[in-house]
């Protein structure tokens, strides 16, 4: 074994020495033989000739010795590679085109895969992430909810203390808090976590310690905080003395007890937390909303996680948790919180709720990005497939041109397998170069994509590592091998089938015409795929245009917006109210600002405040049918340029007692709840868990329908209340209508706000158009990328078609020459060629259309305002593609018609 390794080493690096040794040895052998024959009486010349005959060719002996050496395979491979590089570099134009096509194809795929991997596929950076599950409740929760994956605090405790399937449970709640430093303030994302959070995740501390169960035993008792590693580095300059010091969160002094391990910054991708606080400090971190100490069961807010005991599958755990969940629901259904407003039918429905376990890494960003990203991966896959078809075509043409070379190699004794290997090595060289370049491209592309897709603050933390990890490298390597096989195998086999005698004898290479049907098929595939991509591009671009053109239902130019939350600073209700009154006056007097509107619900950000309402003729409804609500300032409608259709807007005089007295509703609300009646003066009430309500809110105005959550929705029924009446002030969205370009006064607004109150940070200051643009980022990403890929696909297909037609024309020169001699008109020659081209394009188009219809259901959810089978878009794509392809084919067809018959016939 060792001697094998040694000789392998020697063979690899001392080949020259070994070869010359062998030469010496063989020469000596020859001389011995000759000397013997001379002794037997031959003349020296005769003796040497005879000796050489007996040896049977020095070269053959040398080659057979080389072949048995260890590592001979590697030796031949390097030979193939060297030969391959030489052959390829003889044709640099072809090389560059091929490598560029491959780099684009592989690069696009790697970029998409890397994005998909980071956003959708990857598990959490914690120990045994596959054991972690989110524990949620399905069905209608009957109450207020912070999201579909949340449950109430008491339910979390019940599940935690009574289950037999988890080795432990923990929960978390994300919240924004203000952090004070010097005379400035900033708002940062925090994660409120249960005491078992860090130990259950297996996340340690880089410095100090993490939050322990003791820190989270008694409400309000332990003002401690753990910093995320990146926050500690950027905000505290990696100060190692930070442990034991205090920082101010909201208005509370919190002791820093440690820094979490690097790379861990919360359970949710795209929502990195900067600080971790015990969930028992909820009251301090989220003033005015508790849910913890008062233990309401009809408010779901914590996301609960369990770590499955070893050997227990999520399915089994889900089944065995269901009886526990059912007993909790039965208990809840008897409580007054539930019975006060729920009917018997509601109760039946409620008791049918089930416990559901989701992978621990699930979140909104993943959920929203899953489909678009898979779609883009499919698009890039199609482009790569198309590129392979294109390259296979190019290589087939090359193989035909190299038939003489293959024939010569076969004639002097190369095996056909060796030719196949040689050609595959060349393909591998091309795709290897393409993959290297593609990796570089994909890295650049990913940085641009992440920047385009994620909010600026998050994108900065969202590290796309400069060194691609092994998954991405593995993926690139795998598709490199696959592509080189996909585009190289067919031409390689074709090349090795070269017939020696006719090829060497006949310069015109009659046998090679056999590759034309294959090349036609490849072109038809390319046309079909590019139709598919072009059609997709059309659908996505029109979706984006539809969404942009439709707009939210009010003019968005000259609008500036930000949010602000003075309650985090511990301001009382009175102080907060005064804060907003003063802020209103301050901003209204600002030069360049024509009007200021306040709203407690941010517009078009996906948020909704929903509540069931009661009236004379209607009562509570399931959440899907509940109207959406908001509290707004007096000039809100004027600022957004939303006219009043009937009645009046709020005035400062509507500032009444703590309960809502007046409301402005939209047309949908009026149609739904007051059909056929004048809505002005009608009354309704908001359903409440705590007491039975009477309908005493008076409608004073009606506005036209406008969008509320996002641009995709049909405007839901909406009701607005004056915010001064509201019992609770939390986040406030501020909208400024400006005279000129709102971007020009952004800086001034920021400065004015800092002077107004330096301790209340301004969050998300941007123009309304920027905000809307950002909310359409998924659509824009899909539309722009599919446009790039569609364009690329058409370009490749057109080049492919051109190549085949040009090739056919060259092959048929003689035939065309004869036709012209016999009196064929130029036009009929063009028609002859173009008829075949049109059949080819037609076949591709039909195949592409069938494919498009088969796959249409798949993209339906990504479209807006048009059907996935939209005939106009399909027709436009087909026409554009046919025109481009037809023009590309016309060039060689016209060239064919100008063939000079005399030279064409004489040539052969």
């Amino acid at each position: 074994m060792i001697s094998r390794l040694l000789s392998f080493w020697k063979n690899l690096f001392r080949r020259r020495q070994l070869d010359s040794d062998l030469d010496d040895e063989l020469r000596a052998y020859l001389e011995f033989q000759a000397a013997e024959k001379i002794r037997a009486g031959m003349t020296p010349e005769e003796a040497y000739r005879a000796a050489r005959c007996e040896v049977g060719g020095i070269d053959q002996v040398r080659q057979s010795v080389r072949d048995i050496r260890t590592g001979a395979l590697l030796d031949r491979l390097t030979q193939d590679i060297r030969y391959g590089i030489r052959t390829l570099s003889r044709n640099p134009g072809f090389c560059w085109v091929a490598v560029a096509i491959l780099a684009l194809g592989i690069g696009a795929n790697t970029a998409m895969f890397s994005l998909l991997d980071q956003v959708v596929l990857r598990l959490l950076p914690v120990s045994h992430p596959e054991q972690l599950v989110i524990v949620r409740e399905t069905g209608n929760h009957y109450g207020n909810s912070y999201g579909p994956n949340t449950i109430s605090w008491p339910m979390f405790e019940d599940l935690r203390d009574n289950n037999h399937v988890f080795s432990g449970m923990f929960c978390r709640f994300p919240a924004d808090v203000t952090i004070g430093y010097g005379d400035r303030a900033a708002q940062i994302p925090a994660e409120l976590v249960s005491g078992s959070y860090f130990s259950m995740l297996g996340v340690g501390a880089a410095l100090g310690r993490t939050i322990a169960p003791d820190d989270d035993a008694v409400p309000d008792s332990k003002p401690v905080v753990v910093l995320s590693y990146s926050f500690w580095r950027t905000y505290f300059n990696a100060d190692r003395t930070i442990v034991g010091r205090t920082i101010t969160l909201n208005i509370h002094a919190m002791t820093v007890i440690g820094v979490a391990q690097p790379g861990f910054d919360s359970m949710e991708l795209g929502v990195p937390a900067k600080v971790f606080v015990p969930i028992m400090m909820k009251t301090e971190m989220t003033p005015r909303s508790d849910g913890l100490k008062d233990r309401p069961r009809r408010l779901s807010w914590v996301t609960a996680y369990g770590r499955l005991k070893p050997g227990i599958s999520p399915e089994r755990a889900q089944l065995s948790l269901q009886p526990l969940m059912h007993s909790i629901l039965e208990m809840e259904a008897l409580q007054p919180e539930f019975t006060r407003n729920a009917t018997a039918a509601d109760r039946q429905l409620f008791l049918r709720n089930r416990v559901q376990l989701l992978p621990g890494s699930d979140n909104d960003l993943r959920e929203n990005m899953r489909k678009p990203l898979w779609l883009l991966v499919a698009l890039t896959g199609a482009v790569l497939f198309l590129a392979c078809a294109n390259l296979a075509n190019l290589l087939l043409a090359r193989a035909t041109a190299r038939e003489r070379e293959f024939a010569v190699r076969l004639a002097i004794g190369a095996s056909r397998a060796r030719i196949v290997r040689q050609l595959l090595v060349e393909s591998l060289l091309l795709s290897g170069a393409g993959a290297l370049l593609g990796l570089l491209l994909s890295f650049l592309a990913d940085r641009v994509l992440v920047k385009m897709y994620l909010p600026a603050g998050v994108a900065a933390d969202f590290a796309v590592s400069p060194i691609p990890d092994w998954r991405v490298l593995g993926f690139a390597l795998a598709i490199m091998l696959l592509t080189s096989l996909a585009f190289g195998l067919l031409p390689a086999i074709r090349g090795s089938q070269t017939e020696i005698t006719p090829t060497l004898k006949d310069r015109s290479g009659v046998g090679s015409l056999s590759s034309i049907p294959v090349r036609r098929l490849l072109v038809a595939i390319q046309i079909a795929l590019s139709l598919l991509l072009l059609f997709g591009t059309g659908l996505f671009v029109r979706t984006l245009r539809n969404l942009e053109n439709l707009g939210p239902g009010f003019p968005t130019d000259h609008l500036l917006t930000f949010t602000i939350n003075p309650s985090l600073n511990g301001y009382s209700d009175e102080e907060t109210k005064s804060f907003f009154e003063r802020l209103n006056i301050n901003l209204e007097t600002m030069p360049g600002v024509s009007s200021v509107g306040f709203s407690t619900m941010p517009l078009l950000q996906g948020y909704a405040w929903q509540n069931a309402i009661v009236g004379k003729d209607f009562e509570g409804a399931p959440i899907e049918q509940q109207p959406v609500l908001s509290e707004v300032g007096p000039n809100y409608f004027a600022t957004l340029s939303i006219p009043l259709i009937a009645g009046r807007a709020f005035t400062t005089q509507d500032d009444g007692p703590a309960n809502y007295a007046y409301s402005v509703i939209n047309e949908s609300f009026a149609r739904k709840y007051f059909p056929g009646r004048n809505p002005i003066g009608q009354r309704f009430g908001l359903v409440n868990d705590m007491e039975t309500v009477t309908p005493d809110i008076e409608v004073i105005g009606v506005i036209p329908d406008k969008k509320y959550r996002d641009l995709r929705e049909t405007p839901p029924p909406q009701a607005y209340f004056p915010y001064f009446e509201g019992p609770k002030f939390r986040f406030m969205s501020v909208y400024l209508r400006t005279h000129g370009d709102p971007r020009q006064i952004e800086g001034e607004v920021r400065e004015r706000m800092r002077q107004f109150d330096p301790h209340v940070p301004v969050v998300g200051l941007e123009t309304m158009n920027e905000q809307i643009g950002f909310s359409l980022r998924t659509e824009r990403l899909v539309a722009s990328l599919s446009a790039v890929f569609g364009g690329l696909a058409v370009l490749l297909a057109v080049i492919g078609l051109y190549g085949v037609v040009a090739y056919v024309v060259t092959r048929r020169r003689r035939e065309i020459g004869i036709r012209v001699t016999l009196g064929a008109m130029r036009g009929s020659i063009v028609a002859l060629i173009m008829r075949e081209v049109l059949i080819l394009i037609g076949t591709g188009l039909i195949a592409g259309t069938v494919l498009a219809f088969l796959m249409s259901q798949w993209v339906r959810s990504q479209l807006f305002g048009l059907s996935p089978n939209d005939p106009a878009t399909l027709a436009a794509a087909a026409v554009a593609l046919s025109l481009a392809a037809g023009l590309a084919a016309l060039v060689p067809a016209l060239r064919a018609s100008r063939v000079d018959p005399v030279t064409a016939i004489r040539e052969e």
Partner: protein
């Protein structure tokens, strides 16, 4: 004259080379001569089979080689058995004897 058509059985050549080198170290030509002599001319090993076999056996660690002077004062590469080579010779010889005995018995039984 040797019969030119007598093909060497797989493995036979290795055994013959090992046997040829059992007494003394030899160069390529010498091995060829020695084999012819040992088999009374039945096997004549050509360079085309001899040298690949020598290199293979050297890589397997059965032989070592060194450059030296031949009896006619020419530079030549001499091959010698290694310890492994001797072990191999013993094993191969035993194996061959078993086979040849079995073959002889079988042929006689006909």
């Amino acid at each position: 004259m040797p019969t030119p058509s007598s093909d060497l059985l797989q493995g036979t050549l290795d055994l013959l080379i090992l046997r040829a080198l059992a007494l003394q170290e030899l160069h390529g030509m010498g091995i060829s001569r020695r084999i012819a002599q040992m088999t009374t001319g039945t096997f004549e090993v050509k360079a085309g089979s001899l040298f690949p076999a020598l290199y293979r056996m050297e890589e397997a660690g059965w032989l070592t080689s060194s450059w030296g002077e031949s009896e006619t004062n020419r530079r030549a590469k001499f091959y010698a058995l290694t310890k492994t080579g001797r072990k191999q010779l013993k094993a191969e010889t035993e194996r061959w004897e078993r086979i040849s005995l079995a073959m002889a018995t079988a042929l006689r039984a006909m």
